[in-house]
């Protein structure tokens, strides 16, 4: 009690505020309580207010997340399923994170449609943030060229030059966008030449876009710059310092190549891969202005989210919930501050007539047993993914909600103590 009171009292020593025409971000910053002293960042707690092109306001508490989509739809769900997502955890309509990679296919249709992108994809009142890649589909190495970024969708590769990028965004007209970046830099094995090229191309594309969007339909849309730099500390830091001087509204930390995304499963069980690159993320974040929001997109288990929040990341996405549903797995809150992941295809659930979770009941937990989910998965039914997605999305969003609460009362370290239990449990139940 006493300790937490002291923590609380020295918390939030400073408040920062940023605003542009369509974005307002206020954030309270305090030194991180936990973590290695040298790399310790800051705990940030804030409010992000966004105004969409239709004039509708969207408020997101940070640390928080956008809802991840694929080709404009929330994976597995139909829009009416949102009634099963607890409104206490996310604003309704939910802010959506889409990927230019898949949406580039839709651009001619959306342009001809004449109404907002959100209406086209069936979520008319949602705020749409157009990122570059789907966090579940890592960029392919070697896709970028000197004057274009390579994005992949089901029709193949789309070469996106700075001009094509502006054109696509003008057609799709999102409410917020991530600017292209030559972030094809592997964490391991990227040559100095590649890193230099990436650095130069990224900056020139950024400047070209910022200049060319003047007078275009997306002139007033909030923009996020992607900060890369690969595995080179000097370039990471300097790239951020450069970008920080540009007229952008926030930052996406990336430039870790496909390894960053494809090996996320490793962090989940060991945390090791993550540890070794913690410094790089930290370098980027410390070089960024504190007033603007920082985004990071990957299918992140709660443990990784906590690490990143402690380093100063503000915004994430819900791709982890979909990744688990795709793998027929459920995120389970085992203790107040600990999670487990269970694989519903496992034979041990064949006759298990209990719900996924008894701690609180989402739609799936209220109406279905593990045995039923196991049955659906064995029959390869679409509904198996649907029910798991509803559950996982609720668990994940509730995690963010609870995480914010622990930050507010200065007890974020609680997550640390119990997540070590999970490591053992996760390794023990044979998920791989």
């Amino acid at each position: 009690m006493c300790l937490s009171f002291i923590r609380k009292s020295r918390f939030f020593i400073s408040a920062r505020w940023y605003h542009s025409s369509a974005m307002e971000f206020s954030v309270k910053v305090a030194p991180s309580v936990v973590g290695a002293a040298e790399n310790a960042g800051e705990i940030r707690r804030g409010n992000l207010s966004l105004t969409g092109r239709t004039g509708r306001m969207c408020r997101i508490e940070t640390p928080g997340c956008f809802v991840h989509t694929q080709t404009g739809s929330i994976p597995h769900l139909t829009p009416d399923d949102l009634q099963y997502i607890d409104p206490a955890y996310i604003s309704n309509p939910p802010p959506l994170n889409m990927a230019l990679a898949s949406l580039s296919m839709l651009a001619p249709s959306v342009e001809a449609f004449g109404k907002p992108l959100s209406t086209f994809v069936g979520y008319p009142d949602s705020f749409v943030y157009l990122g570059l890649n789907d966090p579940l589909k890592p960029p392919k190495p070697g896709s970028n060229e000197k004057s274009s970024m390579g994005l992949w969708n089901r029709a193949g590769k789309v070469k996106v030059s700075p001009e094509a990028f502006l054109d696509l965004n003008n057609k799709l007209h999102p409410d917020m966008l991530q600017i292209i970046c030559d972030m094809d830099t592997q964490l391991v094995g990227a040559s100095g030449q590649r890193l230099t090229k990436s650095f130069d191309s990224s900056l020139s594309w950024l400047d070209l876009f910022l200049k060319s969007r003047q007078g275009s339909p997306v002139e007033a849309v909030p923009v996020l710059a992607t900060v890369g730099g690969g595995s080179d500390p000097w370039r990471r830091e300097n790239f951020c310092k450069e970008v920080a001087t540009r007229a952008v509204d926030g930052f996406v930390v990336d430039g870790f190549g496909d390894q960053w995304l494809s090996r996320w499963k490793e962090w989940e069980s060991t945390g090791d891969l993550f540890e070794s690159h913690k410094d790089l993320v930290s370098l980027s974040l410390r070089a960024l202005p504190e007033t603007k929001p920082r985004f990071l997109h990957a299918p992140l288990p709660p443990k990784a989210v906590i690490y990143l929040v402690e380093m100063g990341v503000d915004m994430f996405d819900t791709s982890y919930a979909a990744a688990l549903a795709d793998r027929r797995e459920a995120l389970i809150r085992t203790e107040d501050y600990a999670f487990d992941v269970i694989s519903l295809g496992d034979q041990k659930y064949f006759e298990d007539l209990t719900p996924l979770s008894t701690r609180w009941a989402c739609y799936t937990c209220k109406n279905y047993t593990k045995a039923y989910l196991h049955h659906l998965i064995h029959c390869q039914e679409i509904n198996g993914g649907v029910l798991l997605m509803i559950h996982n999305l609720n668990e994940y969003l509730k995690f963010f909600h609870d995480l914010r609460q622990t930050i507010d009362n200065g007890s974020i370290s609680l997550w640390k103590s119990q997540s070590s239990h999970v490591k053992v449990a996760t390794n023990g139940n044979g998920n791989s």
Partner: protein, 457 residues
Amino acid sequence: MSAEKFHVLASCSTSKARTGVLSLLHSDVETPIFMPVGTKGCMKGVLPEQLEQLNVQILLGNTYHLGLKPGPELLIKSGGLHKFMNWKRSILTDSGGFQMVSLLKLAEITEEGVQFESTYSSPASFASQKRSRSKKGSLTEPEPVVSDDETPPGAAKERLVLTPEKSMEIQNAIGADIIMQLDDVVSSTTTGPRVEEAMHRSVRWLQRCNEAHSRKSEQCLFPIVQGGLDTNLRRECITEMTKQQQQSVGFAIGGLSGGEEKSSFWKMVDVSTDHLPASKPRYVMGVGYAEDLVVCCALGADMFDCVFPTRTARFGCALVNTGQLNLRLKIYSKDFAPIDPNCVCLTCQKYTRAYLHHIVTDLPTSARLMSIHNIAYQMNLMRQIRESIKSGRFPEFVLNFMEERYPNGSAPAWIVDALATVNIRIHQQKPQHTPPHDDAADDADVHVIKHLKAGDR
């Protein structure tokens, strides 16, 4: 159970069409009704609450699939299929015989039942005559093989048999409101003494089913009229079955929709509805094309099921009054109309053909949206049929429907003939030109319809 479960509310004064209410344990069912097929304990891609919203009143489950996975024991432990799958309204299960004959090429039918070789690894539910032929494989391992049912992997082969008693045992465990007798299914294109044998055997198996049926106060057992494409056999079958099962709540008309000529199909429905008791609902199995539904209703049928509407949905085809739209075609990429401007389903309220074009067959969400629309289409069609019968405008409805579907008198002869027998005369002309309202899209659709019909039912 008594016959008072079905009440005819109104009958068409011109045709044999009627509308009524069938009171089942879990819900009332308004007839004529279409039953979507939720094969393995769920309607693929549609949640139970969404089905309720679409006014689905009764869902079909397949005994063959449910008997294998999850199996009757787990279903009993779960409190029946309704609880297991979170569906509060009515369910009908088939006998399992049809799947056995259609999915398993090695099925052999004897007086005892349907014998077949299974490659499922834990088919305890059918294991009344289990004889292991191979030592290797997963017999000792409880883990079932994950596979598509139609292409089982090389697991241990077992000799299994589905008897009328076994079918009842599994259906009693599933706990559907309506259960079907095990019938001797022969292909509707088969001719000769085998058809007659199958009809008589179905009559005998009905008796065995009735004796084995252990939940008579909760579940209604429907006999299935067989007799191939032979009017006399059909009549004989009905005479035998109605004599044997006077307490039956309803009757099914089986052995049709298997690739026979449409001219034979409607005549079999017609003769069956002529001879089945008017006070009981008649279920024509495997019918789901809109024009077939309208004709069968005119001939006095009350219940239908078919996988077509939902299967074609998952392939990207949307049902509309004029036929169907294959949304995979590029021409829809800038078509900003909903699938059907008059449809009130979620899909038509929220989505354009253009967006659906981009996601069909790619995202699970698209299979869901398409299924929702196609079920809505079927439900809406049946509702219009019921309402037109109630208001005495059924013949008018049929004429309008056929004119929209087959403009300028292009309706096929079998429809003209079938409707003429029930005094609905539709305008028919020799088609001289391509119908003017059609565009390139519909030509391409015809191709898809042919393609899909091959794998239908």
